[in-house]
Symmetry: C2
Subunit: 456 residues, 2 copies
């Protein structure tokens, strides 16, 4: 983002560090009955505050987004971003863990957090009258957590339980295995939670250092959407951060994210996790496109047509016509400098070969012959409709503001986004399909197999 | 409901079969910035249509709710309601399965269905301009599905995959095991999906018979919420149902749901499902209260305080202070004539004894000493806040209309519901705690144990 380079974006603009000047932008969505108005302010510290005022709503979603995730860890730090996310809820100089949760829950609000490979998010959803409370609590815990040594030990045990829980969910586990198949030892191939081996020896000092070096004002975007007033939100945020480490520009910029190897040139890999499950959980896929790749709108359409819904080719072929799987779908993930495109299926172990054969055949068919005009229209309808339907919820709108700022350096107006989808042509989709679906495919399988059962 | 007795409700009123007269009720929510207006019409067939017009929203959620679920099956029919729910998407006299999904998905809408123990729901969420399409498609598939023999075979395979998938999720499986521990062979103790043993031999004729006997107009509630016009919705529903089996009053009322044994008097049971999981998945609990029990508001508060959030006693004790579990929570389920109250925890197998001991001690403490005034206030805040926050979404509002009508025979206005929560006293909660938490507790465990490891 701007000076730190922690997240790259296409425009090359410098959204942070506007020298303390408050640039306010108003964007009114055409044909938006909820009438959202977006405003943006950069604080002197470099921290950015974006809001969308939606007077028809009664709630506000408030989020603090930090441009650091598991890919910013070195190998031995594996899980540090996620460990820190847990610890921030354990207490600040002003509040115990119980204070934090009970203040929000007493007014019926909800709060939570999640860590991804590229960012970490803390959020609350409350009634509009409780927004000042939510701002105070959330800013306090993100800016001024104490990381007590005893809490580090308790939370280490909780995280090891979380890792064990995840290991009991083969349908989730296979996604991690697939990331490893594509990215190998690259940071994008590692577990967000870390592993028992990295979490067990992690020290308070390591986590504290990660916190202070990474959680700096220019790396943070605060976003809120709902029945709110922008100036009031900015004022409350400044009050809540006063006297904390986020009140000033950092002494040094956050470390740059290391350059990423060109994952596309890696050979495809097959990984099998032998496990006595009822179903085989299978992912077949390849490196995709970057988050800012202009072809992402075409990819959305392609994904919808291939495996994005019940009318998609893979769902129709594998579930509706043949009854081979309950769950089968394709998906695209995008990162700053990389991406994935893949197909998941859960099926009886004896049917994996058939499911894989059908999937490969369908991918090859689309790579060779493309999709139809009807499919193009349906794929665009899905992209636009699900986007617009997603705008009715303050949480989604808050996320849209923050992701636009954090990941793209700008917020694409709704009308422009819809126009970009509309502009996708059959040639765009078919050219992308020919490129993407012809790539060597990696395979991940969790199920009752041996490690070499799929090495053909 | 009313004449059929398919779902009992407290008032004893006869909401269906109003002789074809259209009773329209308007309820405007006080202090509702979205300004919802509720209206209700009973068609000549006995089918009820409820809508909530919310002009500020751009979407509409449309649902068809049928008062039949897995508890209405005899033992050998186990899974018939769920099997039928799958089959209705496979084609009508007018549409193929692909038509059904592609018509909705082409406009960016989403559609799905679920089966519970007491009702089955089919729903779609679309942009307001696409509501006529959604009504036509959803009414067609629920009223006029053909249940082709070949589709029965394909979908049987899909359901067997769904059952296998469920068996790979021990955190879900333990909930079914717990229901069996409490209810035994009672229909409420059986799996909604049925089992491989009941689904494999089920014939098209059995499912067809279940469909025609159970899916009758007086057993169905249609609900919609969003930017809509009530009269237009009623007209579109009538058009869509014209000439289908739901166009007329049924020849005979739906079969009465059999009387339920008094589950409260059953001895507590312990069931263990041995499985090589990383975590032990544990549920400890007892029979609770009926859906219409006046103490349900006090139970909501008690549940919030015991294990309903991060500030709850069990979360604080088991996760925050001791780090014994990642996930620990209590919950209450309510049925027409029964209920459950239980605590779930997922923890290392070696820590189950400690988690169970802490849980039993906390339940006993609350049974003996009750909760505090502070906890009462927080518990009420949670109930009210989460309810009001849930009103911002057309899907939740649609469900509220349908559940009110189907399960309670009436819609409780928002203000009354909030007042009922406000009226809960410390004495109410403590009397309920003393009754409920002193009951013999059943236990369900999925994990690396023997079947008799917990028979103390």
């Amino acid at each position: 983002m701007g000076p730190s380079g922690a997240v790259r974006h296409a425009t090359g603009s410098q959204p942070g560090r506007a020298g303390g000047s408050a640039r306010a932008v108003t964007r009114t969505l055409t044909d938006d009955p909820l009438g959202g108005t977006v405003r943006r302010t950069v604080l002197p510290s470099g921290l950015r505050v974006l809001t969308e005022a939606i007077p028809a709503m009664r709630s506000v979603s408030f989020g603090i987004w930090v441009a650091v995730g598991s890919r910013d860890e070195t190998g031995p730090q594996g899980g540090a971003a996620h460990f820190l996310e847990h610890l921030l809820f354990k207490g600040t100089r002003k509040r115990t863990a119980l204070d934090i949760s009970s203040e929000i829950e007493a007014v019926g609000g909800e709060t939570n957090a999640f860590t991804t490979k590229e960012y970490t998010t803390y959020y609350a959803r409350v009634l509009d009258e409780d927004l000042p409370l939510a701002i105070d609590v959330m800013c306090d815990l993100v800016a001024d957590s104490v990381l007590e040594a005893a809490d580090v030990e308790t939370e280490r045990a909780v995280i090891l339980e979380e890792i064990a829980m995840h290991d009991d969910e083969p349908g989730d586990e296979v996604h991690d295995l697939f990331a490893r198949a594509v990215y190998g030892d690259h940071p994008l191939g590692r577990l967000i939670s870390g592993t028992e081996e990295t979490v067990t020896p992690m020290t308070r000092r390591q986590i504290q250092s990660f916190y202070r070096r990474r959680y700096t004002a220019p790396e943070i975007v605060i976003a809120a959407a709902g029945n709110l007033d922008h100036a009031a939100v900015v004022k409350l945020v400044r009050q809540a951060l006063r006297g904390t480490p986020l009140d000033a520009e950092p002494a040094a910029p956050a470390p740059r994210r290391p350059e990423t190897p060109a994952v596309r040139t890696k050979p495809a890999a097959t990984l099998v996790e032998p496990k006595e499950t009822e179903q085989a959980h299978v992912i077949l896929g390849c490196p995709g496109i970057d988050r800012t790749d202009e072809r992402r709108f075409a990819l959305g359409v392609l994904n919808n047509v291939l495996g994005g819904g019940m009318s998609s080719r893979l769902f129709q072929e594998i579930r509706e016509r043949r009854g081979l799987a309950y769950s089968v779908y394709s998906y695209a993930s995008q990162y700053a400098d990389s991406g994935l495109f893949a197909v998941y299926a859960g099926c009886a172990p004896g049917k994996v070969d058939e499911v894989l054969e059908l999937t490969r055949a369908e991918l090859a068919r689309v790579a060779a012959d493309g999709i139809t005009e009807d499919e193009l229209a349906r794929g665009k309808g899905m992209s636009k409709g699900s986007f617009v339907l997603g705008l009715e919820d303050t949480g989604s709108r808050m996320s849209r503001l923050a992701k636009g700022e954090l990941l793209y350096g700008d917020l694409m107006p709704v009308d422009e986004l819809l126009a970009r989808v509309d502009a996708v042509t059959l040639e765009d989709v078919n050219a992308l399909a020919a490129d993407l679906l012809g790539r060597p495919m990696s395979l991940a399988v969790v199920g009752p197999f041996g490690e070499n059962d799929f090495s053909a």
